[in-house]
């Protein structure tokens, strides 16, 4: 059972940081993981008095305090608009409302858990983390780092116009995912609409142009079961998607190529081979959805 000798509600980040440098001291987020451990904690450091439970929206970004709960992410309208709904989509399957009223975004990302829906989702967006000591760094870089004693203060998501898709496969609706996948498609220059029209013939799509802008297409695959990884769609492929008649078969090929880069493993929930198969299926579905939506890029910003 978890044992805690002392509980301190931090009065400043500086105090919290200093306390957190001791080996047996722990910052408590939503408590959901810590509670299950047998940790012997000397001092539990609570950040809940530091005003980090708010989501602030500016012209350029959303700044999410580390103590914001998953339920607040789910209900937040700014994030809903910014992410095209994938933030809500990524957390809505996590256990239940009462759980999501406790679990924090800081705890979810700091843990860099393999199964994390939240990490997969935020990696797909233009996300940064603000660390007390380490300053602001891209989430992708943070995800690669080893756990240390810094404090994740805020999560910053840039309002980059784009299209986002979030998909997961689960054995039951509220279980951990067997695999997660998110796909994002944003302009290189954050510019305007590239496609004025789209012809839609059965499952094949065609973009007829117009003015070439260039996309960044990013694919994130999590719960492999290892930590989520980010894959970039090559410029060549991005161009293809933007400029040419793109057959479903070609997108399938791209999905296969991407899925081959995803290393998968086996745990209780599924085997590596199935995960590799799912990676291909979910990436394909994500890309098809993005491709179908592509003409609407930039629309969200104007809709604001």
């Amino acid at each position: 059972m978890l044992k805690i000798k002392q509980y301190i509600k931090a009065e400043s980040l500086a105090q919290a940081y200093e306390l957190n440098q001791k080996r047996n001291n722990r910052i408590i987020g939503g408590m959901l993981w810590l509670k299950m451990s047998n940790a012997q904690v000397q001092t539990a450091i609570d950040l809940s008095g530091l005003g980090l439970d708010r989501i602030e929206e500016t012209e350029e970004e959303c700044r999410i305090g580390c103590m914001v709960t998953l339920r607040e992410l789910e209900m937040n309208q700014s994030l809903e608009r910014l992410s095209g709904g994938i933030v809500r989509e990524s957390v809505k399957n996590i256990v239940g409302v009462q759980f999501r009223n406790l679990a924090t975004v800081g705890g979810s990302l700091f843990g860099r858990f393999g199964f994390s829906d939240v990490l997969t989702c935020f990696l797909a967006m233009d996300t940064y983390v603000e660390l007390y000591q380490g300053g602001i760094i891209p989430l992708e870089e943070f995800a690669e780092r080893k756990r240390d004693n810094d404090i994740l203060v805020k999560v910053i998501v840039k309002k980059t116009p784009g299209k986002y898709v979030y998909l997961s496969h689960r054995n039951t609706k509220t279980d951990f995912p067997v695999l997660t996948a998110a796909v994002s498609c944003v302009y290189k220059n954050g510019g305007q609409e590239p496609c004025k029209q789209r012809n839609h013939k059965s499952a094949d799509f065609e973009c007829k142009d117009k003015q070439k802008m260039g996309y960044d297409i990013k694919v994130v695959v999590g719960a492999r079961p290892a930590k989520a990884i980010c894959l970039r769609v090559s410029e060549e492929w991005s161009d293809k998607l933007e400029n040419r008649v793109c057959q479903t078969a070609e997108i399938e090929k791209l999905a296969r190529e991407l899925a081959e880069q995803v290393q998968t493993g086996t745990n209780m929930r599924a085997g590596a081979a199935y995960r590799s198969h799912l990676a291909e299926v979910l990436i394909k579905r994500g890309l098809l959805k993005i491709y179908g939506d592509i003409q609407g890029i930039g629309g969200d910003r104007h809709a604001d």
Partner: protein
């Protein structure tokens, strides 16, 4: 350490250990409706309100409730009786062990969304496991309760 909180409308000041979980604090204070069904935050049996929001009391440090308000089913007896009657009219309470948590969370749902769809009901209550009922009877009871409310049953809010 000393904390003060408002439990079911009553202010309590008490010495506690830093690792005391809220569920144990509540049961020590006679709130026996709060049940433990797992150790992994999966079952929803221990649902209480923390500042009016439904949370899992098994996963909250009592220390963190200092200065906050906690409500359990003991403090919501009228609502529990009114709504629970509709569950009972389906026989869907069955063993009853998951009922307090489910009823707490259903009350939270009705306060947030007075006229939820079936899908919204299922999503909101997804974290409340029940092994007896298969959930259908609970859904029938909730629908019947909402219909009664639409027909002008007494207000659900305190």
């Amino acid at each position: 350490m000393q904390i003060s909180l408002v439990l079911n409308g009553k202010k309590i000041t008490e010495e506690i250990t830093p690792d005391l979980l809220l569920i144990d604090f509540l049961r020590n204070h006679g709130c026996y409706s709060v049940k433990r069904g797992c150790e992994t935050s999966n079952c929803g049996l221990c649902t209480v309100f923390l500042d009016k929001k439904p949370v899992l009391s098994c996963s909250v440090l009592t220390a963190r409730t200092d200065g906050h308000a906690i409500d359990t089913l003991e403090g919501l007896q009228d609502e529990a009786k009114e709504f629970g009657a509709f569950i009972a009219d389906q026989g869907a309470e069955q063993c009853g062990f998951c009922n307090p948590g489910m009823i707490m969370n259903a009350i939270a749902l009705f306060r947030e969304n007075a006229d939820p769809t079936d899908e919204e009901i299922k999503e909101y209550l997804a974290g409340n496991l029940c092994r007896c009922s298969g959930y259908e009877g609970q859904l029938r009871g909730i629908r019947a309760f909402l219909e009664y409310k639409r027909q002008g049953g007494a207000s659900c809010r305190q």
